[in-house]
């Protein structure tokens, strides 16, 4: 009797366990891949930062005290903040227009926005080199109008504008996701209650879009921290970003230890930003 009563309970207890192993089996190829080609190398980088050329935390000490590294870090954060802000200012009206447009129009606009994703990163960066070059169309236009301008290329301006261009779609998609969910009747009701179009924007749209604004800013900021190609090709040699300096340390000085330490610092900064976001909003919401 006891056995008869006990066995279904036991088998019920075991069955879900067996079933719950299967998803993990399906994940195995990915987990093995990530472990072999991401976690292990990452651990090696972390190791190298304290063992190359000899054991110790000398690289971190020099990063923390060397004016050059501190300025690079500060420039990197400042640039990322500037790019995120530019993306917000440019992206908000676009996302707002998309949310207000008819479904077909919104889909067409979304294609245009994401089109730059389909164009190679390098092509877009070189395109900016052509556009902003000394004999490029923008310089020619400024000359024709008679506006005095300095060098456009190889400045913080040129790398900022290119990174904004590349990262704008992330911001637009983040904002569109929240703006699209705002009920049109809320805007109508605000208007009927006496809110001018600017008041509707300020008192209804912006508060309801706040999660998307924070998401977009975080996403663009974090992605921008690690930018390499664009600042190298377009940016000012005097205002480098961390990723560029890491590359320089390896390629020009073969200083693997210092480069690894910088990479760890960059990764840690990124994780800190994401950690702050997670504590306040929950990381699962970042991608909408």
């Amino acid at each position: 009797m006891d056995e008869a009563a006990g066995s279904p309970a036991v088998s019920r207890r075991i069955a879900p366990q067996r079933a719950s192993l299967r998803p993990w089996l399906l994940l195995m190829p990915l987990l093995v891949f990530l472990a072999a080609f991401f976690l292990v190398p990452l651990a090696q980088v972390a190791m190298m930062s304290v063992t190359e050329p000899e054991f110790g935390f000398g690289h971190y000490a020099s990063i923390a005290t060397d004016g050059f590294y501190l300025r690079v870090l500060a420039d990197t954060f400042a640039t990322a903040l500037l790019v995120a802000t530019c993306c917000l200012v440019l992206g908000f009206p676009l996302a707002y227009a998309m949310a207000a447009a008819s479904p077909n129009m919104a889909a067409a606009m979304m294609i245009v926005v994401t089109m730059s994703f389909w164009t190679s990163f390098l092509v877009r960066t070189y395109a900016w080199m052509v556009l902003l070059g000394r004999s490029g169309p923008i310089a020619a236009l400024l000359d024709w109008i008679g506006l005095p301008h300095g060098e456009l290329l190889f400045t913080r301006f040129s790398s900022t504008i290119a990174m904004t261009h590349i990262l704008l779609p992330y911001m637009v998609v983040s904002l569109y996701a929240v703006l699209r969910k705002i009920e049109p009747s809320l805007l109508r009701s605000a208007a009927s209650l006496g809110a001018s179009p600017t008041s509707v924007l300020r008192h209804v749209v912006l508060p309801l879009a706040a999660p998307g604004v924070v998401n977009g800013l975080t996403l663009v900021f974090v992605l921008c921290l690690g930018f390499y190609v664009t600042p190298i090709l377009l940016g000012s040699p005097r205002e480098q970003m961390v990723a560029g300096v890491i590359g320089q340390q390896i390629e020009e000085f073969l200083n693997f230890g210092e480069a690894s330490a910088l990479a760890v610092v960059l990764l840690a900064s990124t994780l800190i930003v994401l950690g702050l976001y997670h504590r306040r909003f929950g990381l699962d919401k970042l991608w909408g």
Binding site: S185, A190, A191
Partner: protein, 357 residues
């Protein structure tokens, strides 16, 4: 004659330049009147409301309040309170802040606005709910907040767009009474849009029946119910028997109905013998027995008991007929029975002809 409080003058709306969503809608309303726009979906009732609110602009015609055109005034300057079907409360503001919103938009100092909002919430029975957010409130409570918010700034007009559609039946009837009470107390001229004819009957001073982008009939609820101007109105407002008949003696008020025979109808001196007419007989006007002016024998197909009443569906000769009997009187009737019924001539109506007297 002084100008009416609200006037819709020949309103037309076309979205594509060809098909007309709204055609020549004209209407006047007195101050304090409760008017219901009744019609099926796509009949133009909501489009008309949107034009009055200013969310859409009319292709033709004008809207006047106290003789002043508001056709070109943007919605936020019209001073018209609107309650939406989904309430459209601001989810990021508590109930009291929602109600204070229109006052703050009008630059009222915050303390004064919050005090007035609290007072208004009291009027709709939510004095203790000011701090609740919309997501923490039931549908009926949200509805009341929306009503308070639309009324707190003394609007020139109150528009209600199917506001009770999302509520369950009991709550809907309770809200009908409450809305009507608040409206009467504040004396605000109101346009109420619904596709529910019983709601329209229960609440309105006058009903405007819409169909196909046009006004079909305007009148007091009971006038529309008793004297519909078309078979559409007769079918849409209330339950109906519409019987095809042929006049045999217009002035004397006699007609012939297939399967029933000769019946008396309201006199139509202007009509000619032989004219085809549609006779409206409301199901509740058919009484058991043969004591009234006209008689018919109903063969029962189906009987549905509601307790207070019962709906009997059947036919007399070849003519389908529905009768609503009192619950007790209907006891014992079953399908297949033959039932003698009769009706008073004065309770019938010839559709599309003026009520004689």
């Amino acid at each position: 004659m002084s100008a009416p409080y609200l006037e819709l003058r020949g309103l037309g709306k076309s979205y594509d330049g060809r098909t007309r969503a709204l055609d020549n809608v004209s209407l006047t309303a007195a101050k304090g009147e409760f008017i219901t726009f009744l019609g099926p979906s796509g009949s133009g009732k909501t489009t008309t409301l949107m034009l009055v609110a200013g969310f859409e602009s009319a292709s033709e015609g004008d809207i006047l309040i106290e003789g002043r055109s508001i056709g070109r005034v943007p919605p936020h300057k019209r001073g018209i309170g609107v309650v939406f079907q989904n309430y459209a409360l601001f989810p990021h503001r508590a109930a009291a802040e929602n109600v204070a919103f229109p006052l703050l938009m009008r630059k009222m100092p915050k303390a004064q606005a919050m005090a007035k909002a609290a007072e208004m919430l009291g009027l709709v029975g939510l004095e203790r709910f000011g701090g609740r957010y919309p997501r923490e409130m039931s549908g009926g409570q949200q509805q009341r907040v929306a009503l308070a918010r639309a009324l707190v700034f003394d609007p020139a007009l109150l528009l209600l767009d199917e506001p009770l559609g999302a509520l369950d039946k009991n709550l809907r009837e309770q809200m009908q009474i409450e809305i009507k009470a608040v409206q009467r107390r504040l004396g605000v001229t109101t346009i109420f849009v619904t596709h529910d004819q019983s709601e329209a009957m229960a609440m309105s001073d006058r009903i405007v029946v819409f169909d196909g982008g046009r006004i079909q009939q305007v009148g007091a609820p009971l006038d529309i119910y008793r004297y519909p101007s078309s078979s559409f109105v007769a079918r849409f407002v209330g339950d109906s028997n519409i019987l095809a008949a042929r006049l045999t003696d217009p002035a004397g008020g006699q007609a012939e109905i297939a399967g029933i025979g000769t019946v008396r109808v309201p006199a139509l001196p202007a009509a000619r013998a032989g004219d085809a007419i549609e006779l409206l007989l409301r199901p509740e006007c058919l009484k058991p027995g043969s004591g009234l002016d006209n008689a018919a024998r109903l063969t029962v197909d189906v009987i549905v008991h509601f307790g207070d009443s019962a709906l009997v569906t059947g036919h007399a000769g070849g003519t389908p007929l529905r009768a609503r009997l009192e619950g007790l009187a209907a006891q014992g009737i079953s399908a297949g029975d033959t039932l003698p019924l009769s009706w008073a001539t004065s309770s019938s109506h010839v559709i599309g002809r003026d009520a004689a007297g």
